[in-house]
């Protein structure tokens, strides 16, 4: 093979159309997303797990008591994703964060929609921003945005 010949290359695409059944617990959380509500589930120690799982991650006991949690919460940690990943729901650079909603004892992963990383701070309060058309999918949440401080707080 002469040095002038560039190596042959072919684009290989692997594609899977998966549709996954949710079961009752995850299904209820997804139904909640469609209805612009956020739910968690109570663990044996009384703490609230968001997003909800069918079995406790530590004790493996089945969990059954679902509770609604707030739409706002606290950024526990964050990073900046630029460029946005090709298959992610976002077209623009965004923060990726673990957010602990009021009423929850665990954090969930989602985006914080701000213009630049300079606007991000651990401990900042954020609130859910919903898509117009929702189907019951984690991306029904466009992400979270900075919570506007109430005038009397």
């Amino acid at each position: 093979m002469s040095e002038l010949e560039k190596p042959l290359k072919a684009e290989l695409t692997v594609e899977y159309p998966f549709t996954r059944t949710t079961g009752e617990v995850i299904g209820a959380f997804m139904t909640g997303l469609r209805e612009k509500r956020l739910f968690g589930i109570k663990r044996p120690d009384g703490s609230i797990l968001v997003p909800p799982l069918e079995y406790d991650p530590v004790t493996s006991e089945p969990l059954t008591e679902m509770v609604e949690v707030a739409q706002s919460g606290v950024v526990e940690t964050w990073t900046w994703v630029d460029p946005p990943r090709p298959q992610s729901p976002w077209d623009a650079p965004h923060a990726l964060a673990l957010i602990r909603l009021d009423g929850s004892d665990t954090s969930m992963l989602h985006a914080v929609i701000v213009g630049s990383p300079l606007e991000m701070k651990t401990g900042m309060r954020v609130t859910a921003q919903w898509k117009e058309d929702r189907v019951g999918h984690i991306a029904d949440l466009e992400g979270f945005v900075q919570e506007i401080e109430k005038a009397d707080s």
């Binding site: 695409t13 692997v14 594609e15 899977y16 159309p17 009752e24 139904t31 739910f39 059954t64 679902m66």
Partner: protein, 191 residues
């Protein structure tokens, strides 16, 4: 014995669905498609093979251990895990080692007339076969040992691709006896 007609039961009692959504149509599934794109760069032996193939030349690899010839060439003798660097040019004639008549269409291959014959093509001089389409005769004429020859694309349609050979057609030469055809030919090829 587990009753196959009863659904698997959750280990828990009924999940308490929150009142605010309890009357609504529940979400039962989510779509989670995956699409991963790769740049596939073939190994140097395969690159060489493809470039020769575009010139209607079929390359094989000859094992340094016992001279067995593998096609397409992959740079190793799979029986011994030994690297191969000796190429050999093979003819585009051979015989059918084994075959199957398929009655189902393949997604993406609307060009195939159903039913079609996929066969294991053993080229003269090669010890192993590879998959090819057999056409140019009635399907029920195809048999193990049938002598075949490649039908190539037109010159200006050739490229660095396995698609260069459209199909394998019978030559009409006397057939290879079954006991010497396909992998059974292994012992006899180097005679």
């Amino acid at each position: 014995m587990t009753d196959p007609n009863s659904l698997p039961a959750a280990l828990s009692e009924k999940v308490e669905i929150p009142e605010s959504i309890s009357g609504l149509e529940p979400v039962r599934s989510v779509r989670s498609p995956i699409r991963l794109v790769y740049d596939f760069v073939p190994s140097p032996p395969v690159q060489q093979y493809l470039r020769s193939y575009s010139k209607k030349k079929i390359l094989g690899h000859r094992s340094p251990v016992d001279g067995a010839v593998f096609v397409p060439p992959r740079g190793v003798d799979p029986r011994h895990g030994v690297l191969i660097d000796e190429s050999v040019e093979l003819s585009d004639r051979g015989h059918v080692g084994n075959f199957c008549v398929t009655h189902l269409p393949i997604p993406g291959r609307d060009d195939l007339d159903i039913p079609y014959v996929s066969a294991w093509i053993h080229l003269d001089g090669a010890n192993v076969g590879f998959l090819g389409l057999v056409a140019g005769c009635e399907n029920d004429e195809v048999h193990i040992g049938m002598r075949v020859q490649a039908v190539w694309k037109e010159e200006d349609e050739l490229g660095n691709t396995a698609e260069n050979i459209l199909y394998w057609k019978p030559t009409g030469e006397p057939s290879v006896p079954v006991e010497k055809a396909g992998n059974r030919a292994w012992e006899h090829t180097n005679e």
